[in-house]
Symmetry: C2
Subunit: 148 residues, 2 copies
Amino acid sequence: MALAKNASLEEIRIRDMMDEWVEAFETKDLDRIMSLYADDVVAYDLMPPLQYRGKDAYRKVWQDGLSMMRGELRVEIHDQHVSVDEELAYGHILSHFQGKDLDGNDIDVWSRVTDCYRKIEGRWLVTHEHTSVPIDMKTGKGMMDLRP
Amino acid sequence: MALAKNASLEEIRIRDMMDEWVEAFETKDLDRIMSLYADDVVAYDLMPPLQYRGKDAYRKVWQDGLSMMRGELRVEIHDQHVSVDEELAYGHILSHFQGKDLDGNDIDVWSRVTDCYRKIEGRWLVTHEHTSVPIDMKTGKGMMDLRP
């Protein structure tokens, strides 16, 4: 019973991290976003290349991404799942992102985000992140306009 | 020390599952592919919709995918990472897929695959899979021709 109790507390911690990710994203707080990642994070991002290895490389893509957006952002978490073990955890969500690009055009994209976590010196950090949209096999286009 | 030994044995089991996934994929053995997944798997696939919930739904996309390819397939695993805990594990790879479509055109795609595992009744099963390619933000196209 103690383990189950603890597992549920740790699950709350992981969910809190996702909420913090949303808050940091919406306020474009790059340092706060990056505080969630392990130094050796491997990220598969919406933007190329195939993979980003390490926090410095991934920070750059976050910086570039945030700089492509103007004004207010809104990020919503849907269909969240979290599983927690002693030292590893994972979670996945559908993320609904709304904002404007530098030309003032609306951006309204649903994407999929998978996060894998490791407890490092008593603190959960994201060691792997995978963000994507599906591909339309007929046109070859990334489906930025899909709705769940 | 016993734990570390065990962790390493479990890691080998997860790597064996990835090898089995490759073998089953290359031989188009749908039942063998599906034997790796949990009944309640949630998959974020290269193909729409945003998510597949449950083994039956995911089996259908595997079946459709395999039916779109003719002749021999080749799947290679690159840059593999595996992390294992007591009841959860995760792994991620770059997957290099080569084959031919129904018109005989070459397919040669690198994608990213993340797998999350849960030990269910003593056996590891994939509870979450996320497969994707990055998007070219200028053209909106899925980048099927990226190389690592």
